[in-house]
């Protein structure tokens, strides 16, 4: 990582309140994100993978400060240091909504659901123009035109249309154009292709890769589809129950996963090839615990095949492994999973 850091997430925790009693008092809290730290370097793509409920979307929305508006009473800890283009460093978690507003042009988001992420009452031109209008940019129409053409839409034909006239893939392109309108430094893509059809998914992935190069973007790519993340990302962080259990180069994490959870995750992905031998697949048992009944010690120990009694005592920290990634496991399985590379 020769490039400088753009975003440093330091020991961040996000706890949702649990209301109870007649007066709706806070009776407890569920930690959706639990002491997460990582650094995002300029120009790289970090893939954030995990299953539903692992806290990956919460983390993404915490960085861009969306939760404060929609969910009251959420408690945050830690620091999210953002290195602004002018050289100053701000802690995004410490900002008030008003102070956050100037940062908005530097951090943008691409949403998962192309159907709910566009205001059905606005035309495409209005949707893409909105961020420019907020910043009072001049010559907006021309910029909107360029952006729409860049993401593969026809500005003349489609600028005045409404979202309901577009297919899912086209809507996602509109969402991408909106996110790029202000030339942000950091784009958080929250499952941008998981709602799309296979044949459209690859179009959008290619578009994102091209645009990243062209606009010199730093991407935080949140997804549950490992094969997409592996294709898109330079590095991958695997989350389980609010914690990062493995972090490393995409190839290393995907080919030689170090954490038992990552191993199970990688081997669970269905391979589109009937001839692949599935007999040595690693299955994990049971169900993901909710953040409310989080196990003591290692969060994964209740479902881990190689858990030992002592796993209940200490919370494992990320430690480097021989294959080069960081793994949060007290007894990392020595022999790596023998997974035949998909393309072999």
């Amino acid at each position: 990582m020769s490039t400088p850091a753009l975003l440093e997430v330091r020991d961040v925790s996000v706890a949702y309140p649990i209301w109870g009693g007649i007066f709706r008092r806070r009776v407890g809290e569920g930690r959706a994100v639990d002491h997460v730290s990582f650094t995002l370097h300029k120009g790289e793509t970090l893939g954030l993978v995990g299953e539903s409920g692992c806290g990956k979307s919460t983390l993404a929305k915490t960085i861009i400060a969306l939760l404060r508006h929609t969910v009251p009473g959420v408690r945050y800890e830690g620091q999210i240091l953002f290195h602004r283009p002018d050289g100053s460093v701000v802690d995004l978690l410490a900002l008030t909504p008003r102070q956050m507003r100037p940062m908005r042009s530097e951090i943008q988001m691409i949403f998962q659901d192309p159907f709910s992420s566009l205001n059905p009452r606005m035309t495409v031109a209005e949707i893409v123009e909105a961020p420019l209008r907020v910043r009072r940019v001049k010559g907006r129409r021309a910029i909107v035109r360029d952006l729409l053409a860049r993401v593969g839409l026809d500005p003349d034909e489609q600028m005045g249309r409404y979202p309901h006239e577009f297919s899912g893939g086209q809507r996602q392109r509109i969402g991408i154009a909106r996110a790029l309108a202000l030339r942000p430094e950091l784009v958080i893509a929250d499952e941008p292709v998981s709602a799309l059809d296979v044949s459209v998914q690859s179009q959008v992935i290619n578009l994102l890769v091209e645009l990243q190069r062209e606009f010199d973007l730093t991407l935080l790519f949140v997804a549950h589809d490992l094969s997409v993340v592996e294709y898109m990302s330079d590095r991958i962080a695997v989350m389980y129950l609010g914690r990062i259990v493995e972090l490393g180069n995409a190839d290393a994490v995907y080919q030689t996963p170090g954490h038992p959870y990552t191993q199970a995750l990688v081997s669970s992905v269905p391979v589109p090839d009937p001839n692949v031998d599935r007999s040595n697949r690693i299955q994990i048992k049971g169900e993901i615990p909710t953040p409310l009944n989080r196990p003591t010690g290692c969060p994964f120990r209740t479902r881990c095949n190689i858990a030992r009694p002592s796993c209940a005592d200490t919370v494992p920290e990320l430690e480097p492994t021989p294959t080069g990634q960081l793994v949060a496991c007290l007894f990392p399985p020595g022999g790596q999973m023998e997974r035949p590379p998909a393309e072999a």
Partner: protein, 381 residues
């Protein structure tokens, strides 16, 4: 990944060459296609517009009087006065009550009886004439010379008979229509405005504001409406303005709950998140992003709110806590029907007119709901 909603896809069809329609325009188009509701709407709108010209249609003042080469417009003068009379101090539209002496008739009365003038002029011959409105009666005018004691049964002169004070029922119903509709429209608009404003704030900001605000709304909603109205109306002189304020003050609660719920739902959708992420201000997000999407259910509900408000006014008038005495009102006529149950015309006509009007509004309501929130009744077979 689902093929379960082909309707959705129909909307999403690439309509090459066709003009792009917003959701609202699409719904408007769908509303126009629902003939029963659309024609009801046109009919009611027409009648309502027509009702503003009632002083020229049903009045005991002449439209035009020509006397000694001079033209007089008594109905217009009184209409302008009634409509814009509050500017009197500015000198506009004085109610020029023309005394009989104006037309060379020796009488002690202050006002001219134009119907009599008409027959006089006709009998005298010459160039003078009086042009009366099609129905030459005023809603508050009493006809006590019809032979028997009022109420009088329908006759050729009074198509729906007269009420217990000898006033023409048809004319009073017509004027009552204007008052009922105006009242219901104003109350609906005011309660929608208040309800939307309060509901939007509670729903969007949430948290403590919502917690406390909602409790206040609930307390307000727990005040018994009818008692309050009865008490207020016995303390204060009931007037159109007072009744409008009272009904609006209680009418916005339902809208507030609705809008609050819609805001809660809409604000968790991604387009609001996207708006926040672009740095839009809260007021912009409320007004430009969420509100247009949140209004759908209450727009579909509006005709039914109008029905409810018409009925509320009728109910208050019926109970005697409504508009002050000489005002032509449906509720008062229905009350007369109850008091004179043997006089069929006092029972049948007011109820028929009210039924007809409400039915029109309900037809409109059905069509609006169908256009805004279509539900197909389908079954699996």
């Amino acid at each position: 990944m689902q093929t379960k909603d082909p309707d959705q896809k129909a909307g999403g069809a690439s309509t090459e060459g066709k003009k792009s329609l917003s959701l609202f325009q699409l719904r408007l188009r769908r509303f126009r296609r629902l003939k029963r509701g659309y024609y009801s709407f046109l009919l009611l709108l027409g009648l309502y517009i027509l009702s503003f010209f009632l002083p020229f249609l049903m009045n005991n003042r002449a439209l035009v009087v020509r006397y000694n080469g001079t033209y007089y417009f008594p109905a217009l003068a009184s209409y302008l006065h009634e409509t814009f009379g509050y500017y009197e101090r500015l000198g506009f539209f004085k109610d020029t009550v023309l005394s009989p002496q104006t037309f060379g008739i020796d009488s002690v009365l202050a006002r001219t009886d134009y119907r009599k003038l008409q027959t006089d002029f006709a009998a005298r011959g010459g160039d003078d004439f009086v042009l009366m409105p099609p129905i030459p009666y005023h809603p508050n005018e009493q006809f006590l010379d019809l032979g028997e004691n009022p109420p009088n049964a329908p006759s050729r002169l009074h198509l729906m008979g007269t009420d217990d004070r000898g006033r023409d029922v048809f004319v009073r119903l017509a004027y009552g229509f204007r008052i009922s509709m105006t009242f219901a429209l104003i109350v609906t608009v005011i309660s929608y405005l208040i309800g939307t404003l309060v509901g939007a704030c509670l729903g969007y900001f949430g948290g403590w504001l919502d917690l406390i605000g909602l409790r206040l709304v609930e307390i307000w909603g727990a005040i018994p409406f009818l008692y309050t109205v009865i008490i207020l109306c016995s303390l204060l002189e009931p007037s159109f303005l007072l009744l409008t304020l009272i009904l609006s003050a209680f009418g916005w609660l339902g809208i507030c709950y609705y809008i609050r719920g819609e805001f809660y739902r809409e604000k968790s959708r991604d387009y609001v998140g996207a708006a926040i992420a672009t740095g839009e201000r809260d007021t912009t997000i409320i007004a430009r992003y969420i509100l247009p999407n949140a209004l759908t259910p209450i727009i579909a509900f509006a005709p039914f709110a109008i029905v409810a408000n018409i009925l509320a006014l009728v109910g208050l008038d019926f109970l005697g806590f409504g508009l002050p005495a000489p005002t032509p009102s449906w509720g008062e006529l229905i009350g007369q029907g109850k008091a004179n149950i043997r006089e069929w015309h006092l029972v049948v006509f007011p109820l028929l007119v009210m039924f007809f009007t409400l039915q029109l509004v309900v037809f409109i309501g059905e069509a609006v709901r169908e256009a805004f929130d279509p539900k197909v009744f389908s079954r699996l077979r």
